[in-house]
Symmetry: C2
Subunit: 208 residues, 2 copies
Amino acid sequence: MEMSDKLNALGAGLKSKPFPPGRVKIADALRLLLEQKEFNAITTAEISRQAGVTEALIYKYFKDKRDLLHQVLSEYLEQYCVLVQGDLKGIKGALNKLRKLIWSHINVYATSRVFAKILLIEARSHNDYYHSDTYELVKVYSDVILEILEEGVLNREIRDDIPAQLIRQIILGSIEQVCLTGITFDRAIDPDALTEDICEIIFNGIIP
Amino acid sequence: MEMSDKLNALGAGLKSKPFPPGRVKIADALRLLLEQKEFNAITTAEISRQAGVTEALIYKYFKDKRDLLHQVLSEYLEQYCVLVQGDLKGIKGALNKLRKLIWSHINVYATSRVFAKILLIEARSHNDYYHSDTYELVKVYSDVILEILEEGVLNREIRDDIPAQLIRQIILGSIEQVCLTGITFDRAIDPDALTEDICEIIFNGIIP
DNA sequence: TTCATAAGGTAAATATTACTAACCCACACC
DNA sequence: GGTGTGGGTTAGTAATATTTACCTTATGAA
């Protein structure tokens, strides 16, 4: 399957170089601070204080304050990609894969809210995100969904008269909207219930 | 219909006070600048220069730089609410209303991209948006959708075993995701085609 | 042994930027 | 005829992201 290959390729680059302690401390500090406030309200001074290093060190390891954000997001994404790779293993049928993927997606947002906040709120508000390497990771994940959908069309599990890209957007849009409210209002997110309902609606809409 | 009432109430507050020229110039300036770059990259100096007033005047009329953003958003929202009010007039049936509303929603994003940018990207990235008066407007609009859905449940047009709030989120999520990519990549947005496909999928999912 | 070079980290300065305090002017209205 | 008051400006100020130059240790090649 091409899909697993792609995610595998991602996972491969994971264990390359051990980051220097300062870099780790800075990334940790940002993650911690993001639990309390939004990115723009976090100052470099605060980050360095929390990390126990000097402000200038941030700029040794990161081009920007935003580059720091992107790299932290990147780490989350890589973890999530290997996770999905495992989750999808051994599942037969496009709709079954889709259901599992939707569950995993909602579940990771429910579990790791900082990840969700960065991806859903902070990243998109600056154009350079869409030119970053990090965004390429998202595209790979996004392609995986597309491939599942195309597999479904071939298997006659999914109708072929609506562009797969649009179906993907509707799926992603639904997931993200549902989670976004949970995230911003600090409400619980129930992956099982949400997956159930989302699939119930969308699957009825996309079966032939 | 309660729905029209609510939107009417909004429209009523529209023609209250004529804004002083400086205030208008500042709001215009921000709208113009938002076509070119994102909010955080726009400086108060830039806004005042573009408006032909001094920087301090911004703070006579607006609490914050973000308050300026919220008020500009507010103006867009009010306009959109009266527009929807007209669009929905005389349409019978929940699904028909829903289709029209989806079209109007997509269409306004397609037409006025600055509005879309603010609402979809800039506003959500700061928590105080959710405590602002502007957000109350969004909630009113959001309630209108809910009422249409509930009407549909009563008419047996829409299934009753999935929470209306969730259906609303899926509808809004789909619309926003679809438009968001169009906005961020400056691609064309085709309201007719998108409405057609979105309704085709979601309606199949929500009919009994 | 020695010397270069690089990696990890710091101290101190700087240019921008959002925001404020104090002031000016004109016109309406008792 | 003063007296606000609405619309506007001048001239700051404190924070903040980012830069420049520097220090220290350790590795490794000659």
